[in-house]
């Protein structure tokens, strides 16, 4: 395999993301700024089982709205660069708050690996997390780590590698090639979005009312091929429902814009 595998690290602030980044990449990293932004960008790489991995440390964020510069940078990177694997790092002792971002990432349909970090804090409090059940529920591979003690780093590397479909390991993938029923992986290069959503129903389902509205919007924007192939339609529909100005501005057709704005809860 010639090119390296792109991995993005994301998570709330103070979850030990930088420690994991340092553990993964060691000294093979460099720091800069995101182009035109005041936000710091850290990149590095590591080798595992003969594969080369390129890691980008995204800014720590609580959500993916386009409100703060940090959130814009993280979201833009995920949308534009479509990393092969997105590693979502959670502070296991603050699950409730941390899972919010996880749900947003699931909505964005990135190829997710979840890390439950700070396992030691959970244990010291005597709490218990059923990691397997969580992975099953979110339909996502999950690794538990204590980054400060460098525990679980090899598990994480293994999980990242396993999250990449076989096709990515050895040969260039052709459009429309479902690779023998491997429909779990999503990447614009392999499937276009509509197809992915048909193959893999959403993990996070909202109330009937919202789902109906989402369905309506998806149907309207499916006429814009450019839009619905570049972005996951369900995700676009959610953003439109939330009145995300950046996404609304992507709809160039005036009539379509009017139609989607008609869909209310």
């Amino acid at each position: 395999m010639s090119s390296s595998i792109k991995v993005a690290l994301i998570g709330n602030p103070n979850v030990g993301k930088s420690v994991i980044f340092n553990n993964l990449t060691g000294s093979k990293q460099h720091t800069g700024n995101w182009p035109g932004k005041t936000v710091e960008k850290k990149e590095g790489f590591f080798d595992f089982e003969g594969y080369k991995f390129e890691v980008v440390d995204l800014p720590g964020v609580y959500s993916l709205s386009a409100l703060s510069e940090d959130e814009r940078v993280a979201r833009q990177y995920l949308i534009d660069h479509r990393p092969d694997v997105v590693v979502d790092i959670l502070n296991a002792s603050q699950l409730e708050r941390n899972l919010y971002l996880t749900l947003l990432l699931i909505e964005l349909q990135v190829n997710l690996v979840i890390v439950l970090n700070m396992q030691d804090v959970v244990e010291s409090k005597g709490d218990r997390i059923d990691a397997e059940a969580l992975a099953r529920r979110l339909k996502t591979p999950l690794v538990t780590t204590t980054a400060t003690k460098k525990e679980g780093m090899d598990d994480l590397k293994r999980a990242i590698l396993d999250a990449i479909p076989e096709c990515r390991h050895d040969r260039e993938h052709m459009p429309g090639d479902l690779n023998g029923g491997d429909d779990q992986h999503y990447h614009p290069r392999y499937h276009h979005h509509g197809e992915y959503e048909r193959l893999r129903p959403a993990t996070v389902r909202y109330s009937r009312e919202i789902e109906v509205a989402l369905g309506k919007i998806v149907r309207i924007i499916s006429k814009d091929r450019e839009l619905s192939e570049r972005y996951p339609p369900r995700w676009i529909a959610l953003r439109i429902l939330e009145n995300d100005p950046e996404i609304l501005s992507l709809i160039t057709d005036e009539e379509m814009r009017f139609l989607v704005s008609e869909v209310r809860l």
Binding site: N12, P13, N14, T38, Y62, S65, L67, S68, E69, L95, E96, R97, L99, Y100, L103, L104, K125, G126, D127, R128, I129, D130, A131, A133, L134, R137, L138, V204, Y206, S207, I210, L238, L241, E242, N243, P245, L248, R257, F258, S261, R264, L265
Partner: protein
């Protein structure tokens, strides 16, 4: 436009409903996978119950900060006296140098100026020590949380208090920390008000003036000034918010670090790291300033070695005297304030040099005879509120990307400082005369 047809409530509704449902889903997931431990009440929870209490939070914060300033001032006194004695001994030696201008440069310029500012190294170091303890223990983040709650209630942006808190150390990083604030208008507001926070460089002025005029409650007066800085930052933020900018702010979450026992070693290291920066500044920037100031006080239009009254500093100070007449500041203080625009340490430094060149070695007594008590307090307020230093103005220009906002910050702070100082004089005149 179509977007304008949607009422704002609709937009908010969808966002809130979706967020609500996400948390509902998370709740369901947690029910399945999460089992809480038996040790529900940790020490950290108990401390948080007090420190973050709805009503107790602020009083506790005030008591802790007051204790900090009291400690800083009281402990410093001994060390300050020691440094002062050492420099006056040294000054006695340099004064005997047979070359008059060299004797004056060393005695009045270097020792009178830089040496005098070094007297205030102990309070600066102890203050950094105290802040390190508060920071390392995890309390400072809680203080920010408590203050933040008040600010949000007043309609201000939540995250702004953290940059403001950083401003206690130095205003330059405070302005830079405003980057974390959401939204351009909120960020600009934070940048404009963070110079109102009392930085470490103002401390020498406070210690000097409060020590002379309010010796019994110097710690309390200094505490009040810091508090006044916060109050004005909040008030001005509200004013800007209501007049210059209007912007919705997003609710935000604040991560509270775990409580930790601060280590003596850690706090000393922090104190040293920050304190050394001050020492470096004293050795370079303030030294250069001292030489310039001395030169300007030794030289006048009439030639070299003129009396201070005919020197350039006096001309500079006297030119501005009419403006400050209502506040009761004399030209020595005004010159100090003008140089203070470069850096606040210069206020004290130039007073040291001017009085020293005048042959007045007891600066305290000289100050006491030239200022009334009310004017002294007005001076403290003025120093608190007016433009902190040229470095802060520079960083405001860089962070806002506009000279206009930098100029605005200078102008509004000068006006605010003058107006509040005048208010102090007026009210003080009514009460004390």
């Amino acid at each position: 436009m179509i977007e304008q047809d949607l009422s704002i409530e609709d937009e908010l509704d969808a966002e809130i409903i979706l967020a609500d449902q996400r948390y509902e889903i998370i709740g369901d997931i947690l029910c399945e996978v999460y089992q809480e431990g038996s040790e529900k009440w940790t020490l950290s929870d108990m401390l948080d119950k007090v420190f973050l209490h709805n009503y107790l939070g602020i009083p506790v914060f005030l008591v802790i900060v007051w204790t900090m300033f009291h400690f800083t001032f009281q402990v410093s006194l001994v060390f300050m006296a020691m440094i002062e004695a050492a420099f006056s001994l040294l000054g006695g030696l340099t004064a005997q140098i047979p070359v008059p201008w060299l004797a004056s440069l060393l005695t009045d310029g270097i020792i009178g100026g830089v040496g005098f500012i070094l007297v205030f190294v102990p309070p600066i170091f102890f203050m950094y020590f105290a802040i390190s303890i508060l920071e390392d223990s995890g309390y400072l983040a809680r203080a920010a949380f408590v203050m933040d709650r008040v600010m949000v209630k007043m309609g201000l942006h939540g995250r702004s208090f953290i940059p403001l808190l950083i401003g206690f150390g130095c205003n330059v990083p405070a302005v830079m920390a405003a980057r974390t604030v959401d939204g351009d208008a909120n960020r600009l507001t934070t940048i404009l008000v963070s110079p109102l926070m009392s930085c470490a460089a103002r401390l020498p002025v406070y210690v000097l003036i409060a020590g002379v005029f309010f010796p019994a409650y110097a710690g309390t007066v200094i505490f009040l000034l810091y508090l006044l800085g916060i109050v004005f930052a909040v008030v001005m933020a509200l004013v800007f918010k209501k007049t210059l900018f209007r912007e919705e702010s997003a609710p935000f979450l604040m991560e509270l670090p775990m409580y930790q026992r601060p280590t003596f070693h850690g706090s000393v290291v922090h104190m040293w790291e920050r304190g050394v920066l001050f020492l470096k500044k004293a050795g370079t920037f303030l030294m250069l300033g001292a030489i310039t100031l001395w030169f300007m006080s030794y030289v006048g239009p009439g030639g070299i070695g003129v009396s201070v009254e005919d020197s350039f500093v006096s001309i500079l100070g006297k030119a501005a005297e009419p403006i400050f007449a209502p506040l009761g500041f004399d030209w020595q203080i005004i010159t100090g304030l003008i140089f203070g625009l470069l850096a606040k340490e210069f206020v004290v430094e130039s007073l040291g040099i001017i009085y020293s060149v005048e042959g007045n070695l007891a600066i305290g007594a000289a100050l006491a005879s030239s200022l009334s008590t009310v004017s002294a307090f007005a001076l403290l307020v003025f120093v608190l509120l007016y433009t902190p230093c040229i470095a802060t103005v520079g960083v405001i220009r860089r962070e806002t990307g506009s000279s206009k906002w930098a100029l605005f910050s200078v102008v509004y702070q000068l006006i605010l400082a003058y107006a509040v100082a005048l208010l102090v004089i007026t009210v003080g005149g009514l009460v004390f005369v």
